[in-house]
Symmetry: C2
Subunit: 339 residues, 2 copies
Amino acid sequence: VRVAVDVMGGDRAPGEILKGCWQAAELLSGDDMVHLVGDGAIINDALSTNPVPANKLKHYNVVATTQIIEMDDSPVESIRAKPDSSIAVMCRMVSKGEADAVISAGNTGACVAASQLRMRLLPGVARPGIAVVLPTFHGPVVVCDVGAQVIAKPKYLQQFALMASAYSHDLFNIETPRVALLSIGEEDAKGTGTVKEARKLLRDEPLINFIGNIEGKDVFKGTCDVIVCDGFVGNILLKFTEGLSEGIFQTMAAEMEQESAEVFEKFKGVAKRIWARHDWQEHGGAPLLGVGGICMICHGRSEAKAIKNAIRVAKQLVNSGVNAKITARIAQSIQVTDE
Amino acid sequence: VRVAVDVMGGDRAPGEILKGCWQAAELLSGDDMVHLVGDGAIINDALSTNPVPANKLKHYNVVATTQIIEMDDSPVESIRAKPDSSIAVMCRMVSKGEADAVISAGNTGACVAASQLRMRLLPGVARPGIAVVLPTFHGPVVVCDVGAQVIAKPKYLQQFALMASAYSHDLFNIETPRVALLSIGEEDAKGTGTVKEARKLLRDEPLINFIGNIEGKDVFKGTCDVIVCDGFVGNILLKFTEGLSEGIFQTMAAEMEQESAEVFEKFKGVAKRIWARHDWQEHGGAPLLGVGGICMICHGRSEAKAIKNAIRVAKQLVNSGVNAKITARIAQSIQVTDE
């Protein structure tokens, strides 16, 4: 498997990104190749001092680029204006058959735009969706979409369900993932027109194991494996989870510290354990489902661990043939119009 | 102030609702009146055995009704089909000038429908919005709307900001509440078309202290006093907060218990303290802003404490004249079309 990694993208690039690539050495064998895409001088310098065993060095290749897409660059414009940026170059490598997967912790919008432009959509797919793994107290839940489409038509939600089910199946080995539609009540009559229409599509689709609507309070109750929503709601929810969790742990830490030094130590150990068990970095990144290649979008705050895991998941998805499964499911599904 | 309370609505009705009404006795003086609306036999029976001091009994009045709107009844239909339900009767009392405020922990949709139908909208208001107080680690934040309008036009969001500012001002004595628009990024270009349009309206409106977009992760960071969003997103977020908070505390409790009995006791104390400090029941309920009366919508799980506090807040809002302020602000604001 050939994975192109964006060395220039993310809050901690290039240091943590490269570190993650070196940590991934143990995952690499056979024809595996990690293409390090970015500033040639920086990468070569890091390569010369890196801690990778000599027998693994053949799995790394430098692809020097001269431009950088910043976090606040306009997605579509930057792809056109910066053709030699790491993101643009990586996606072109997939389109030319030189790489199977791309990984970036950089500008999400640019990754989505470049993937769609270069890798094209899989046959029958109307819009791609970002599928993130939310580590809940009852196991991982895949949420799709979390930001590729700010507005979703019913058809997109139907396809997000099909694609995310294939992903959940291949990633977690769940035979028939339980799919829920995020809404404001369990009843048919609740939600926007789009949600109500999507509910019918999901219910009627034999390829989807649809369990019904899910409310915000039930997301963490372990009742489903996949949650489908539009990218606006999904993105708000994802970032909200981060903010609220951190807030609760901080508030609790401050209180525990006032109890006693000993209690505080115990608390810190417990918090660390819980945090580790629900660490988003364990899942690496979120694939953009529906494009003709594997595109792993990582959190801007990704550290080495996230990059290493993104490489692991990208390999897994290429090897499992998730895109062939998505294409087959989309072709077999009930065909609905785009409106 | 005359407050009509729905004795029949909510998961813990009528017991906890009535208990809340009795607990509110200490808040009642002068011409204050609590109209107990619901099953006459139940209420009279409870009145005869209630723990309210004799000198406060004159502040209670029984309004017997014969119908009940269930939690899953269709809002608009049930209001028409059950004219003698507590919710329908309460809203009619306001329209006839017999009550200033209504409080219900029952069917939210029916409360919204009945309030809109009977109390009418305040002059200039396009749509009402439910404004809930989210108890964050940096103080209370008012979120509007959390469920009255599943789809919001830019104009509605502008008016939610004006109305929720007036509410935040009157409830928390904040001179010029900082208003944020919930979106998926801080930049102008982020979000749905509606959000981008609303952003312009909020920025241009001199009556609104607009601080810009806010992302999900920043909701709990104390950067704003009011958050504006459509009712679909707001409702999901609200219920999500509940589910996630409970999940974290439960997970942590299970871990702490394994540490030692002593540590677990300490933790329980701390958790209880934090929970109490962020107890939504302290804020009673969420007003439906924009209707010609005070309508307090309480959580279905409300206990006595929430009902008592809803009575307190209803009194406060009637006395502060929040609706006159909302009407004035709407009249003075930049007038935009409904599209």
